[in-house]
Amino acid sequence: MAILTAPAYNPGPIQPVCLVGENIGVWTQADYWFFKVLHIEALPASRTMQQDIGAVTSATSSNITEITVARAQDGNLLHVRAAPLDPVELTVYQQRATGRHTAFSATGVISVSTGNRDPHYASSTYFILGKEKSIWVQVANNTGYNLAQSRVRFWGFRYVIDPLPTSDINLLRKIMAGNATLEEKRAAPGATIVSAEGREA
């Protein structure tokens, strides 16, 4: 069975990265964790999936704030995108101290302008595994005017997941590390790989 990297960042509307009954591998805590997907359902873009980070004075940034509207339940993986509804720039962290969208000396931000070049906000795709691994956001106001609110809306999918047997997990980790034999690769179950946090070089 094949191990596939999910086309989660491809242009276009957000879509589930696998089907119910298939396996998914999630990179987090410096390792891959493998699960069977039991159920998938949508998280519609709506008022209740919208979080107001708060008022932001011109030329300042908010505190780094936990996103609670897109927080997974235990045994769930969230697959979401984010778009600001107010003219702020979002710096995203996942885990709390690990920045996303990082290059050597710059960090990309999600802004209202992102939607012009990336109409479906594919570049703001995040995977959130379990309730203790929220994404965190800091909003910056560079509009020249004080803002009374800084709203961010989330939408996407929720996967209900169940861990694979330990033997399968170990085998798949071996394949991801490049240490598996051909026979082991043939014997391993398939999985679609996603990443649920930033990763240092």
Binding site: L85, S113, G115, N116, P119, L147
Partner: protein, 128 residues
């Protein structure tokens, strides 16, 4: 400023394209006296981009309109008008962002009820 230009501007902003919808009150507002009046209530969690007004001045004198936010008006738009006696037309406005419920004040004190009729048309972004 006409409807075609406004259409182009509204389409430019991803917030409005992806999360916007039409919003107006279900009946016009009667601006009576010079007190602040709610022109358009923002839906929960939403902000408003005002793009047009329909105005009918039934007052015996011309009037100016001040538009802003807050029951104690924080004026957002420069004063509109004068709207002459019996003025009745649509006023196009460059899409203007209001961070909450829109309030309106008329400069002419009430000579009778239903003094100045105003209907505000907006795009609501976010929220319900």
């Amino acid at each position: 400023m006409d409807a075609a230009m406004i259409n182009g501007l509204l389409a430019l902003d991803p917030r409005i394209r992806d999360n916007g919808r039409l919003h107006h009150s279900l009946t016009y507002v009667s601006v009576v006296s010079t007190a602040n009046t709610v022109l358009l209530t923002a839906p929960t969690g939403a902000t408003l981009w005002l793009f047009a007004l329909m105005v009918h001045n039934r007052n015996a004198a011309s009037t100016f309109l001040s538009i802003g936010t807050g029951a104690v008006l924080t004026q957002v738009l420069p004063r509109l008008g004068p709207f002459l006696q019996n003025f009745h037309d649509i006023v196009w406005i460059p899409p203007t962002h209001f961070e909450g419920t829109i309030y309106i004040t008329a400069s002419a004190a009430a000579a009778a009820t239903n003094d100045v009729h105003v209907m505000g048309y907006a795009i609501a972004v976010g929220g319900a």
